[in-house]
């Protein structure tokens, strides 16, 4: 008898893997993820240079000083990176000698013009690949100061200059310009930033920080405070991020840890899509079998239970094939990425490491299976009482509404993986797969895994029972789909 279930399952599987949708499903997701990652990196790389200028209304040469310091800040970042890379990383050899030139340099103002020149010379003598890596760090690659004269702006007074520059911003010749106040020593309230891009705030923030430091230094000097005292007073509290370990030692938080904490969101998202698109195959082909009446022939050979189970398992195999392929892709990516991308992978390597985390992948596969079986039973029951896809979609609506919850709670649960909301949702079987996947970075305690899984399995079993009853009656029904009350009646009666 079981062999008939297997025959039905096998037919479903073969029919599905022959469709284009199946192959699109298998390949589109890895391609999309890869593309999304690649595009992110490329976007960073090809970000347009932001041209800016400064209108200095004061008379203390604040603009020039700021520009000098702004450049110096670039070198600071560069030299920090050089120092880090000279200790580890693929450019170790090349950078070690250079790092020596910066011996004793701690603060931006400590970098001398000589050192800047040395750095620039060294950079220009490097092969392109190395330069790409180094220059990507430099703010000077992203922001470019343009003298108003270069823009062809001629103005006799500041008001006119500003008008011309505003027009240049409007025309797109200039990304933005800054207006520095007349008397920075006493008031800072008339500083302005004229820009049409309200989303990319990096230039303003970087320039603002630089100016703040300059003005602060001036004021400290004017007040007659010794520099060391001032530095002492101004020192900021910075927490070094650490995380706990089992042994009681703490460890530094790396980029990998952050990526690991956020990765479950991606998994939940794909879990959701996979469960629904795959369980939906079941709904559509049940409706198809019903609407073209093949169901009656089938039922003359197999029992409704065999048919239903066969269909659910057949499509489960289809889904597992897709999911399995995704997992293989993720593992392949993790295996190949270091040699393909090298260190230039940077954040990409971190991301790939997060998505190929074995624990996540295992949760993903198992929760896919659990979630699929649960929803497959619901959808096959819905499909069995409908004669057209339209009717089925109407009946699907309440189900979909219920299912928006894990998506809405997704970010929240990621931030608080062991919070009350996360815990409560874990114990509601229809949300267990999504919530537990979402909490994987927590991670939840072992007993939670055991209890929620037991609840899930029990619910799947009950849902299969109920779906079997609905399927048996519904599948031969024609005419309007039954009311919910009637369906409940069938469950009760038999």
């Amino acid at each position: 008898m079981a062999s008939k279930t297997l025959l039905v399952a096998q037919r479903e599987y073969v029919e599905n893997i022959r469709t284009k949708t199946f192959w699109i499903g298998i390949f589109i997701v890895p391609v999309l993820i890869g593309a999304a990652m690649g595009v992110g990196v490329l976007l960073q790389k090809f970000k347009e240079v932001q041209r800016y200028t400064v209108v200095d209304l004061g008379e203390e040469g604040l603009a020039e000083e700021a520009e000098r310091k702004f450049r110096a800040a670039d070198f600071t970042a560069l030299f920090r990176e050089i120092r880090k890379q000279s200790e580890s990383g693929s450019l170790q050899e090349e950078l070690r000698s250079l790092a020596a030139t910066f011996e004793g340099v701690e603060e931006p103002e400590d970098i001398t013009g000589e050192q800047q020149l040395a750095l620039l010379n060294w950079t220009y003598n490097q092969p392109q690949a190395v330069r790409d890596r180094i220059e990507g760090l430099s703010t000077s690659q992203r922001y470019e100061y343009v003298d108003p004269d270069e823009l062809g702006v001629e103005a006799s007074d500041p008001a006119e200059l500003r008008k011309a520059l505003t027009k240049a911003v409007n025309d797109g010749d200039l990304f933005a310009y800054f207006v520095l106040g007349e008397d920075p020593a006493t008031t800072l309230s008339d500083f302005q930033f004229i820009c049409d891009n309200q989303t990319d705030d990096a230039l303003r923030r970087a320039y603002q920080n630089t100016l703040t430091e300059i003005i602060r230094a001036k004021r400290i000097k004017e007040a007659g405070i010794r520099r060391k005292v001032a530095e002492h007073i101004q020192e900021r509290v910075t927490f070094k991020k650490k995380k706990s370990t089992e042994t009681g030692e703490d460890e530094d938080v790396e980029d990998e840890d952050v990526a690991n904490q956020w990765a479950p969101i991606g998994f939940v998202y794909f879990l959701w899509i996979a469960i629904f698109s795959i369980a939906n195959l079941l709904l559509t082909n049940t409706v198809e079998e019903k609407s073209n009446r093949i169901i009656e022939v089938l039922l003359s050979s197999v029992s409704p239970a065999q048919l239903m189970h066969g269909k659910i398992y057949g499509i489960a195999f289809t889904g597992m094939t897709i999911i399995g392929t995704w997992v293989v892709f993720a593992l392949l990516a993790a295996w190949l990425a270091p040699s393909l991308l090298g260190d230039s992978g940077g954040s990409l390597n971190v991301l790939i490491a997060a998505i190929s985390n074995t624990g996540y992948l295992m949760s993903f596969v198992l929760y896919f299976l659990g979630g699929y079986l649960l929803y497959a039973a619901v959808l096959v029951a819905i499909g069995s009482v409908c004669n057209t896809l339209k009717e089925a979609q109407n009946l699907m609506q309440p189900v979909m509404t219920l299912l928006m919850v894990p998506l809405i709670a997704m970010v929240f649960i990621t931030q608080e993986p062991n919070g009350t909301v996360a815990k409560v949702l874990s114990f509601i079987p229809i949300y267990t797969p999504f919530t537990m996947m979402n909490r994987a970075a927590g991670p939840p305690e072992t007993w939670e895994y055991i209890v929620t899984s037991a609840l899930l399995v029990l619910t799947i079993w009950l849902t299969f029972k109920a779906a079997g009853k609905v399927f048996r009656v519904g599948v031969l029904m024609t005419g309007n789909p039954p009311k919910l009350r009637e369906i409940l009646g069938w469950l009760w009666k038999s």
């Binding site: 008939k4 025959l7 039905v8 037919r11 029919e15 022959r18 469709t19 198809e288 079998e289 073209n292 009446r293 093949i294 009656e296 022939v297 089938l298 039922l299 003359s300 050979s301 197999v302 029992s303 031969l476």
Partner: protein
């Protein structure tokens, strides 16, 4: 007598509606048996119970000597009234699939499917998808799916509907072939001429109840004889024939029934004056007439009972 199918007091209700009401009948092994009845009379429900798709509420059903039809599912073949195929499956695959579902092993089913399709003139269609086929071809494929496993009892629900005359002959020959091989064929139809010619025995179900059962001769015995004519002319005059009770006029042929005491010879004389009579025959009523009369009689009984209430 060896029975392929035996129903005793079978009742099936859907909510308040009784689809089949205390139905008893016996289908001998190796005969061609007709299920007659109006649309919605309960034929399909009866068939579905026999196929163990539905379970009866009361009564017993014996199929091929087993009290539970589910035990012998693999020895039954069923062609439902509404015929459908998987659109995306290939012709040979689907026929073989039906065979496998009936317990045939893979290799035998594949081989037999190909053989049957070739034998029925669909050799060029083995690898084509079902959606590409015409309705008639699709129906052929379905019938092959029904008989691929050499079932001992085949139930065909409206097997002739939608078929052209050539394919009707193919279908008829298939049914006859099965009878020759000692299998039992039950089929339902609305075409009385066909049932009359093809069936060894038949039954009629009306509003869920058995109206009659037996051989054609048994069913017709005791019914008034009728006059069958073939004619040319305006058939409207038929209704003016003195002493006429009922007229089944088919435009160029008709079946007439006279009130008791009227002589068919007088009728012939009267008709010859008004129409060109090509043939004239006095004989037992057609199955069509029996069917229509049965519906009328039974409805009249029900109406009278309701009035009495």
């Amino acid at each position: 007598m060896d029975l392929a199918l035996k129903l005793e007091g079978v009742t099936k209700r859907f909510g308040a509606f009784t689809a089949v009401d205390d139905l008893s009948l016996a289908v001998p092994t190796g005969c061609i048996y007709g299920f007659l009845g109006q649309n919605g009379a309960g034929k399909t429900t009866t068939i579905r119970m026999v196929m163990s798709i539905f379970r009866q509420d009361q009564g017993s059903i014996q199929v091929l000597g087993h009290s539970d039809a589910a035990d012998v599912k693999d020895r039954l073949g069923y062609l439902p009234e509404e015929k459908g195929l998987y659109k995306k499956m290939r012709t040979a695959e689907i026929v073989a699939y039906f065979g496998k579902l009936k317990g045939m092993d893979r290799a035998t089913a594949n081989l037999k499917a190909e053989e049957l399709l070739k034998q029925y003139g669909l050799g060029d269609w083995l690898d084509k998808k079902c959606e590409a086929m015409s309705k008639g071809m699709g129906q052929k494929v379905q019938i092959l799916g029904t008989i691929i496993h050499d079932p001992d009892l085949v139930i065909l629900d409206e097997p002739f509907s939608g078929l052209d005359p050539v394919n009707r002959d193919v279908m008829r020959d298939t049914i006859l072939q099965m009878k020759r091989e000692g299998r039992t064929v039950i089929f339902s139809t609305h075409v009385m001429e066909q049932a009359e010619k093809l069936c060894d025995e038949m039954m009629m179900i009306h509003k869920g109840q058995l109206a009659f059962e037996g051989t054609v001769a048994q069913i017709k015995s005791g019914r008034d004889q009728g006059i069958r004519i073939e004619y040319d002319g305006d058939g409207a005059v038929l209704r003016q024939l003195p002493g006429v009770e009922r007229v089944n006029d088919d435009n160029r042929a008709a079946e007439l029934f006279l009130q008791p005491g009227h002589d068919p010879q007088d009728a012939l004389r009267w008709l010859v004056d008004r129409l060109t009579i090509r043939s004239f025959d006095v004989r037992e009523p057609s199955l069509h007439e029996v069917f229509v009369r049965t519906v009328e009689e039974r409805d009249a009984v029900v109406a009278a009972a309701e009035e009495a209430n």
